[in-house]
Symmetry: C2
Subunit: 456 residues, 2 copies
C-alpha cells in the first residue's frame, strides 16, 4: 500500500500563524510535531516510509523536506509548481506510481490537516475498505454527523455504496440530513488502486489526464507551463461526484478538520472558564476565548467568545463565530501586496533559518542561524555592505578568497561587491547578527558563484 | 499668577501604552503634543513660562525636561524623589514659592491628564475665581454633571460656597446627585494663594507641613529620606474636605478626564460603525471598538465594544466596560516583577533614545538614536563588547583616546574594557545599530569617566 499526503494548502484560514509561505500543515499547533509530521507518523504505523508520498507546493518544499527528514530520509516528496486543488495533486501521485510500475498498488489519500484521535480504529477502517478496493471501487470514508454542520460536504450511502455527494448544504438541509441514518460527512480520505483512479480521470476529467500523461512525474522539476494548464478542481468534483464506481466505509475514529481558529479552539483543552490560553497570557474574567501569544505578553480582560492570535508582525482579534472570515483578511492583504499574508519574519532555508529583527530606511537586521555542517552560497552584493557579529558557535567566513575563523564576540565587515561565504563546518549551531546597509536592500541583489568555486 | 502642573501619575490605567517609566502624561495620544505639553500650552496662554511649575517624579525628569524644553527653556520642574499623591506635590510647589518670596501669589493647580476643549471659557472661569482667591478662599472648580458617573468625586455647593465633598459615589447616590442643581463633579483643578494653602496644611495636615518645612524645595535634589516620610494622600482628603475655607466656581468648558481607554475612545473621532482605529488596522464588521496599532498590523473581525492596544512588547485586548481593570493587570505584572509594566522597549534619554530590537542568550541589539550636538558619556564595560554599525548621520567615536569619524555603512568594535564615547557633534540625527555581546549584559556594567575627561 502507498500513502499520499495532500500537503498543498495555502493556510489562509489560520492566518496570522499560517502564511502563504508557511501554511498550517507545517505548524506545531499543540504538540512538538506539526500537522504534516503527525499525519506522516499516523500513516507510518502501517505504511513503510518509502511508500509515503507527500504532495506539496514547490515553495514549501524546503520546509516539507526538513520536517519529514526529521522522521525519515526515505519518504517521497512530489512538488507541484503551482497549487491546483486536490484533483491535480492526486493525479500527480497516481501517475508517479504508474510510471514506477505500481499501477496495481492500493493508494490511501489523506489530507494533512486532519486530527484523527484513535489511530487503531483508523487502521481497522482501512482494513475494512481493502476488499472494496480489491473489487475495483474507489472508497471514500464517511463520518457519522453529530450536529448539522454547514461547512462540510455530505455523502449519502446505503450498504457501502455511495448514492450521492452534496457540497456544503444550508442549515435546513443539514438538519434534515442528520435525522437520516444514511448521510455522512465527507472526510476527504480516499482509497483506490492507482490504475482504477487513472481510468476514472481518463473518463471523467480528460483535461487533467491529457496533461498528466504528458508529464514525467518522476522528474524532480515538473514543468510549470504544463502543470499550470490543469484546472483547479477538487477530486470530489472531478471524479467522485461523477463516477458510479464509488463505495463508502464509515470511519468511526474521532475526527476533526482543523481548518479554522474555532476548530483549533474546540479540540484544545480548556480551563474552568472554557478558555484556551497558549504562551504568555494574563487574563481577568474572560470566557470561552482562545488567546495565543507567540512572542509577547497578551493581557485580556472580560473577553467573551473571542480569538486573539499574536505573532511577531501581526495580531488577529476576532469573534469566534467569525473565524471563517480570516480568509478575507488574508485576501485583502494579498490584494494590497502586504507581505504580512505571505511570510513570517522567520524564513526557513535548507541551511538553517533567519529572522528579520528590524528594518528601516537603508538598513535591515537579521539573526541568522546556520545548522552544523551547513553553509550559505558563495555570493556578493552590488548595493549593500553586510556586518556580521558572532553570537554563538564558530563560523568560517571566506572573504575575497581568505578564510577567517570567528568565535562569539568577533565581527567582520563584508564590503559592497566583496565575494564572501558564511559557513558552519563545526558541530555546534552557529548564530550571528547581520546588519545590512545600503540604498537598495533586496533579496534579488545577489550574485552566486557556484561555478567558480564548485560549491552550492 | 503661578501655574502648577501635577505630572506625577504612574500611568497604570493606560497600560500597555503607558508604563511606570513612561506614564500617560508623556504620551502623544492624538496630537503631535503629549498631554503634558498640551497642558503646559493651555496655561502658557495666560501664565508666562517662567511662572509654570511642573511637579514630576524624578524617574520621569529627563522626559519631562525634554518635552517641556521643546516649548520653553524657562519653566520650572520640581522633582519628587517618590510619588506621594497630590497633597505632597502641591505642598512641594507651595513651599517652593514661599522660599522664593511668592507667598502672596495666586497659584492655579491643574492635573496633566485633562482634556479642556475650550480654553477661552477656561480662562474666563479663572478670572471669575480671582476675587474669591483674593478674599482668602481656596477655590475648587466644579463641572455640571450630565450623567451619573460613579468614577468621579462630587462637590455640593451653594452660591460658590462648598458644603461638602463626596468620594466616588455608588450608582444610586450618583443618580440622586444629578437630579439636584447643586452637585458638581470635582475637576481636580484648584486656585489659592500660596500662603493660604500653607496655613491649611499647617492646620489640617501637620504630618505634611512638618516635613515640607524642613526641606529646601529649591534644591535640585530633594532628599528621598525626608520626602518618603510624607503620607500618600490626595489634596481633597488632606485639606479640601476638612477646611471651611473652600469656594467653588463652575467650569463651563468641555472637560474630560483621560484616565482610561474607554475615556480616550469617547473623545476620539469615530467612523460610521462607531469604531476608532489608529495605525495599521484592517477591520471587518467590528462595532463600537477601539483598536490602536503602534508598530504592527492588527486585523479585527466582528468585535463589539472591545479595546485592542498593540505595543512593541505587549498587547491588551479588553471589553470596553472593563478598562478600569487594566490597573489590576498592571499591578499583577508589578508583583510578578515583569518589566512589561515598567518600561517600553524604547527608552528616552537626554541625548536621544534607544530601542531594544532583539535579546537572547549572551547578546542584545539596540538601535541608538543620538540627537544633533549630543553625546553619550565616556565609559567602559567589564563584561561586554559592543559592535556599532552606522545607519544614518555621522558619528564621532572616541575609542581609547583616538577619534574616529564614521559615516553610514562603517562599523567599529568596542572591545571589553575599552574606554569609549559615542558622539554626534554634527547637525543631522545619528542612528546606529549596537550589538552587545557578553555573558553579563546589565545596564549596571558601566564605568563612567566624567572626572578624567571633564565631560558628562
Amino acid at each position: 500500500m502507498f500513502g499520499v499526503i495532500l500537503a498543498g494548502g495555502s493556510g489562509s484560514r489560520l492566518w496570522p500563524l499560517s502564511r502563504e509561505l508557511y501554511p498550517k500543515q507545517l505548524l506545531n499547533l499543540y504538540a512538538e510535531k506539526s500537522l504534516l509530521q503527525s499525519t506522516f507518523e499516523r500513516l507510518n504505523k502501517f505504511i513503510p516510509a518509502e511508500n509515503i508520498i507527500s504532495v506539496a507546493n514547490t515553495k514549501h518544499q524546503a520546509n516539507v523536506k526538513m520536517q519529514l527528514g526529521k522522521l525519515s530520509e526515505n519518504s517521497i516528496i512530489l512538488s507541484e509548481p503551482i497549487s491546483k486543488n486536490t484533483a491535480p495533486a492526486i493525479a500527480l501521485s497516481v501517475k508517479y506510481l504508474i510510471e514506477n510500475n505500481k499501477s496495481d498498488e492500493t493508494v490511501l489519500v489523506v489530507p494533512s490537516d486532519l486530527l484523527i484521535e484513535d489511530n487503531e480504529k483508523f487502521i481497522q477502517t482501512i482494513k475494512e475498505a481493502q476488499p472494496l478496493v480489491d473489487k475495483g471501487y474507489i472508497v471514500t470514508f464517511g463520518i457519522k454527523p453529530n450536529y448539522p454542520e454547514t461547512g462540510f460536504g455530505y455523502i449519502c450511502a446505503d450498504n457501502n455504496i455511495v448514492k450521492s455527494f452534496t457540497e456544503k448544504p444550508d442549515k435546513q438541509t443539514a438538519e434534515e440530513y442528520i435525522k437520516k441514518s444514511n448521510y455522512f460527512w465527507n472526510s476527504g480520505i480516499f482509497m483506490f488502486k492507482a490504475s482504477v483512479m487513472m481510468k476514472e480521470f481518463d473518463k471523467y476529467c480528460p483535461e487533467i489526464s491529457a496533461i498528466i500523461n504528458k508529464i514525467n512525474c518522476s522528474d524532480k522539476n515538473i514543468p510549470f507551463t504544463e502543470f499550470e494548464k490543469m484546472p483547479s478542481i477538487s477530486i470530489d468534483y472531478a471524479v467522485m461526484e461523477k463516477s458510479d464506481n464509488i463505495a463508502m466505509v464509515e470511519l468511526k475514529s474521532n475526527w476533526k478538520d482543523l481548518g479554522s481558529w474555532k476548530s483549533i479552539y474546540e479540540v484544545s483543552p480548556k480551563d474552568k472558564n472554557n478558555n484556551v490560553f497558549v504562551g504568555h497570557v494574563i487574563d481577568k474574567d474572560s470566557k470561552n476565548s482562545f488567546v495565543y501569544a507567540s512572542s509577547k505578553l497578551v493581557a485580556t480582560i472580560g473577553l467573551e467568545d473571542t480569538v486573539v492570535i499574536e505573532t511577531e508582525d501581526a495580531i488577529l482579534a476576532c469573534k469566534k463565530d467569525h473565524t471563517e472570515d480570516v480568509k478575507q483578511i488574508y485576501e485583502t492583504l494579498k490584494e494590497q501586496h502586504d507581505d504580512t499574508q505571505k511570510v513570517h519574519k522567520t524564513v526557513y532555508r535548507p541551511w538553517g533559518f533567519y529572522t528579520v529583527i528590524a528594518e528601516g530606511k537603508g538598513f535591515q537586521t537579521k539573526i541568522i542561524h546556520v545548522n552544523p555542517g551547513q553553509q550559505l552560497s558563495v555570493q556578493s552584493h552590488n548595493h549593500r555592505s553586510e556586518h556580521w557579529v558572532m553570537l554563538s558557535g564558530m563560523a568560517k567566513v571566506v572573504l575575497e578568497g581568505e578564510d577567517h575563523i570567528l568565535s562569539p564576540g568577533h565581527s567582520i565587515d563584508i564590503p559592497v561587491k566583496a565575494i564572501h561565504s558564511l559557513q558552519n563546518p563545526f558541530e555546534e549551531d552557529l548564530e550571528i547578527i547581520e546588519v545590512q546597509k545600503g540604498d537598495i536592500l533586496s533579496e534579488d541583489d545577489i550574485i552566486r558563484y557556484e561555478d567558480i568555486y564548485g560549491r552550492v
